[in-house]
Symmetry: C2
Subunit: 228 residues, 2 copies
Amino acid sequence: MLHLYDLNHAVVVIIDVLRATSTIATALYNGAKCVIPVDSVAKCIELGRQIDGITAGERDGMIAEGLEHGNSPFEYSRDFINNRTLVLTTTNGTKLLHMALERGAGQIVTGSFPNLSAVCDFLIAQNQPVVLGCAAWKDRINLEDMLFAGAVIHRVKNHFSINCDSAQIAESVYLEAEKDLYAFMKAKDASHYHRLMGFGLEKDIRYCLTPDVANVLPLYENGKLIVL
Amino acid sequence: MLHLYDLNHAVVVIIDVLRATSTIATALYNGAKCVIPVDSVAKCIELGRQIDGITAGERDGMIAEGLEHGNSPFEYSRDFINNRTLVLTTTNGTKLLHMALERGAGQIVTGSFPNLSAVCDFLIAQNQPVVLGCAAWKDRINLEDMLFAGAVIHRVKNHFSINCDSAQIAESVYLEAEKDLYAFMKAKDASHYHRLMGFGLEKDIRYCLTPDVANVLPLYENGKLIVL
């Protein structure tokens, strides 16, 4: 729904909690030089070759053909990723990021529970309009991205005015879920909870719902996400 | 977001709580022969003349030029509307209704708190897939339509499987708000609460959030909403 908002001078937060933006924060936290988001497997392979980067991405829950790694944050330990460049293909997150670029966003960052505080601190410090862009899946809102948006709103709202009911909705749902985000996702049988559990990825889900375990701010500049 | 869902054989509930669908239920409850929704003031005037109907609709909170009545349910008492035809122009609700028609919806009904039970009873009896279509405003979701969707989901969910996180989100927010919907709308300073309060319409808001005070089921057939 990014087209509904004026992005000039705005800070756009790209949110794709399960698992793209959680993995981006983790890779950068563990020392990756940068993360380059691309929108197709072909571009990922090509760019990976050119710059000797680590190529990663999944389609339907499997490492995409021709790529080396998947979307799990646990694949990007410091031992592995430190000082390397990660070329990551994601569908929705990258699409949203490019949309934000085209529409003239002032600054673009990525957000997830693992870097919740870094995002909130940045938004408060910038003091510019904020658009929280939930990547969704096939254009449907999902619970975890709304929970993250709600967490951000809850923390920063005293510094901003809210002009969209969806922000109120997100905060309400977050406050209900706050005590145990994983239990809430499970109780609601959230679509991505369901899908990832089917792949045996409970550990990933729990990690991606944990605040501040990879607390850096990925900022998009010249095609790359770097730590601010 | 209606385009995301398969509407074949589905029952689509058009929701525009403040105030179109609340007013439709009220007019029919009070004996209107039918309500004909149209998407422009010009069509409303023309059709009103042809069939000697009561023309109604607002733009920017005022009765639209050339029409006789507004969007308030309180304008449609039994004394006034009994046995008459109401030609109502609304923007978002009518647009959504036409979209549902074009996409082959099985049946189309309108929903609002004043006819909550009638909607729920119908959905359970039909036992077909259900799409709850929130009319929104300029494409943004609003709190009251989500609350109504949540109320419906809460009441009918044991008869259906839920396959969309937005349904879980709607029910969560509804359960938080349930005890006092008006207070919740006020506390969240919901966009339409804010706008209608600016026109002095607290009474309308309170009425439109009251369950079952006009408990009929408006069903769309051949261009008209009639009581099933």
